[in-house]
Symmetry: C2
Subunit: 464 residues, 2 copies
Amino acid sequence: MGSSPPLALIFVLLLFPSSAPSRARSASVVTRLPGFRGPLPFYMETGYVEVDEVNEAELFYYFIESERNPIEDPLLLWLTGGPRCSAFCGLVFEVGPLKFVSAKYNGSLPSLVYRPYSWTKVSNMIFLDSPAGSGFSFSRHAEGYDAGDRSWSKHAHTFLLKWFIDHPKFLSNPLYIAGDSYAGKIVPIVTQEVLNGIEAGKQPPLNLQGYIIGNPITGERADLNSRVPFAHSMGIISDDFFELTQRSCEGQDYRSPTDAKCEMCLNTFDEFLSEINLGYMLDPKCARTSPKPKTPDRRTLQEEYLYLLKPPPIPALYCRNYAHFLSYHWANTDIVRKAIHVKKGTVGEWQRCNYDLPYTEDINSSIMYHLRVTSKRYRALVYSGDHDMLITFVGTNEWIRSLNFSIVDDWRSWHVGGQVAGYTTSYSNNLTFATVKGAGHTAAEYKEKECFAMIRRWLSHKPL
Amino acid sequence: MGSSPPLALIFVLLLFPSSAPSRARSASVVTRLPGFRGPLPFYMETGYVEVDEVNEAELFYYFIESERNPIEDPLLLWLTGGPRCSAFCGLVFEVGPLKFVSAKYNGSLPSLVYRPYSWTKVSNMIFLDSPAGSGFSFSRHAEGYDAGDRSWSKHAHTFLLKWFIDHPKFLSNPLYIAGDSYAGKIVPIVTQEVLNGIEAGKQPPLNLQGYIIGNPITGERADLNSRVPFAHSMGIISDDFFELTQRSCEGQDYRSPTDAKCEMCLNTFDEFLSEINLGYMLDPKCARTSPKPKTPDRRTLQEEYLYLLKPPPIPALYCRNYAHFLSYHWANTDIVRKAIHVKKGTVGEWQRCNYDLPYTEDINSSIMYHLRVTSKRYRALVYSGDHDMLITFVGTNEWIRSLNFSIVDDWRSWHVGGQVAGYTTSYSNNLTFATVKGAGHTAAEYKEKECFAMIRRWLSHKPL
C-alpha cells in the first residue's frame, strides 16, 4: 500500500469494524433474478471462496451450468480485465446468458433478458470477481486489496482448487481458463499456476486443457506500439505523420520513450486517439465519465472506455455503454444483492471497474507463460476483435508470430451463416489465432453470433 | 460496336421501328410521385435533353431545387458511376431527398419517404441519367449507345448548355460537377469540357466553380494496386502473403500483371476478396445476382456489388441492397413512368446499372484532368468512405499526394455532432481531401448526416 490509502479503501475498512468470522466458502442456488421475468432458464449459483486466509479475502463468483450437457461439457473459468472489472461484465455484456434491455433508466430496476448466444450453451462457466476489490469480492484487511499479477493468479488457482472440492462432479470436465483485455495477461499465468499445481500433485486434480483469451494484453511493447501502424492503416493518422513517428520512435518503447522527438510524436498521436472510441473505432465516443487521466493514454493499459468512476456517468441511450450505466443501478440495489446472496457489509458501491485500489503489474510480460504452457501441448485460443484500438489485432498477431511456432493451418477466412466472420491461423503447439471481423475490444459484445460459433467449434476441437 | 450486338441492344432497336421525330428537349414538373404520400415537399422536374442529334440520343434527368434558397444556392450536376448506373440511384440511395422504405416487397409499389440529409437542402441538383442507355436515357440509333469516356463527357457538357438555355435563371448560381465511383473519373473530364467551353466563349456562359467526387476511379494503377495494402491493414490477408505479393508484384500493374508469380498471388488475392462485400467490408455479402464474371474482379472496375442483371435478384431484407431490388419494381411500373414523364417506347426494362451495352474506356487516366482543372484554381472536393475496398481511400490518397500540391491545412479530424466524422487535408489549388469514417463506397449511403455536413460546409467555403 502507498502511504496515503485512497478514500475508497478507507471506506472499505470502515465496513468491517469488527473482524467477524465468516464461512470461508459458500454457495447458493439462484433461481430468480430481480429484473428478469420468470425463473432463470439455466442453473445458476453464486458464492464465495476464501483465497487469502491471512487477510480474509473472499472471491465472489457466478457459476452457470452448461445448457447442453453439464456432465460432459467443458468448464470455463472467466476472468474479466481492468484490472478489477467485475466478472459480471463478462456475464452480462460479453459471453454470459443475460443482457440488459437497453431502455431509458427511469429509477426502477433495469431489466434483464436471456442472451441466446451465451457461451454457457456449450460450457459450464464460472465468472469470478477477482482480484479482491473487484465486483463483490472483498477482503477484511486492507492488505487483502493489495493485488498484483502474481497474487491474482495464485488466488485464482486457490479459488479453483477450493471450488472443485465443493463441486467434485465437475473434476472430470475439460477445464479452460479464459478472459479478455487485462485478464488476457493473467490467463496464461493462471494456467501456468494450475499446471504447476497438477505437476506438484496438488489436490483435487484439475483436468486442465488450455486457455482462451480475447484482445489480450501481454505487457509487451507490441501491445501499444502497434497502435501507431494500426491507426495509420485505419486512416486516423496521415502517411507523413506515420512515417515521422516510425522514424522518430524506432527501437523505442512507446510507454516510456527516451527520445524527445519520439515523445513529441506520441503526444500528437495521443491527441488523435483521444477523439476516438478506442474500444471500437467506428462507435461514437460516448460520455466519459472520469476526469481525463493526467498521464497520456499510452502510458496505461487501462481500458479507457471502461473507466467509469462513481457516481456513474450517463451516456446517451444510443451508446453501447448505456448498458454499462444500467449495470450500476442493477448491482447496487438491495433486492439484487439479496437475490445473489452478497454478504452484507462487505462491499460499498459495486463498480464495473474499481480503479481506486492499488494494483501492481509485477509480471512484465506474459509471453514466457504462453510459451511454457503451449509447449506442454495445452490448447490455446487467442481471438481479436479487429476494430479494437486498445489492443490491436496487429500487435497480437505480432507477438504470436514472435513465438516462432510452425503454421499448421495457414491464414484463411472462417465463416458464420455463409459470411466471413474473421480470419484464422493455427499453429503447432495447439495455438489458434482468430480475428473477429468488425468486432471491438470485447469481441463477443460486438459479434455475439460469430464469437459463439467460434467458441463452440474450438471447444469441440473442430476447425473454426 | 462489336460485330455481334448484345441482345439488349437488339431489343432497344426493336423499340423504334420508325424513327419518329420527337421534341429535342422537354421538361415537366413533378408534384407527386407514386409510392410517396402527399405532394413532394420540394420542387422537382424531369425531362430530356438531346445530346447527339445524329443518333437522336436523349438524356433523361431529375432536377430538384434547393430546399433553402434556390436563387443563390449552388447547382450540382450529379453523375452516377457504373458506367451506366442510373442517376436515380444517386437520388434515392445517396444524396437526394427520397429513399425507399425497406419493407418486404409484396407485389405492390415500394414506398418512398423524404430523406432529411439530402444535399438538395443546400443545393439545386440535376441527377443525369448518362451516358445514353443508363436509366431512362436512350438513343434512337444503335450508334447512340456506343459510349465511352470522351463521348459521355462531351454529352454531359452539351446537356448542361442546353439545360441552361431552358433554365437561364440558374446561370448565375455557382456550378459544380459531381459524382462518385466510375463517375469520379468522368467528373474532372466534364469539368475540363465545361472549362474549355467557357474559354471558347460557348453560350450560355456557365458559372463553373469546381467539382466533387466520392471514392472516385481515376484509371491509375493506384485504384486497384492499393487494395492489397488496404486488405492487409484490414486484416483480410496475412503478413506473409502481403509481403509475398508486394515482392512478387513490384512495379506491376495489377490489372494485367506480366510476372507469373505476381499473377498467382493476385489470383489468391481475388479469392480472399471474393468473399467480402467490397463496397463496405463490414456488411454481409448479399445476394449477387449475376453469374460470376469470367474475368477476375481485379480486371474490371465495375462495382461488383452493383452488378445486377435483369431480372433483379432478391437479396435478404436485412441487406443494404434490398432497396436496390425495390428500385426495379418502382422504376418499372407504368404509373411511375407516367408520373415522371418517361417517353413511351424508349426504354425496355429500367436497370440500376446497364452493363449490356458497350462502353469504351478511351481515357486511361483522369489525373491530367485533375491537374489541369485545379491548376486553374477551380475548387475540388475528393471524399472517400474509408471502409470501401472497391476504390480505397489509400489509393485515392496516393494519387492526390502524387499531384505534389502543397498542404494548406494538414491532416486533421473533422467533426459532426461532437464525433470524429473522418479526416481531411486541404491542398493548394483549392483541393480538399476528406475521408468519411466508417463509410463504404457510396459514402453518403452509409453516413448520411456526416456527408451532408461535409457538403454543406464545403459548398459554403467553410472548413470541414
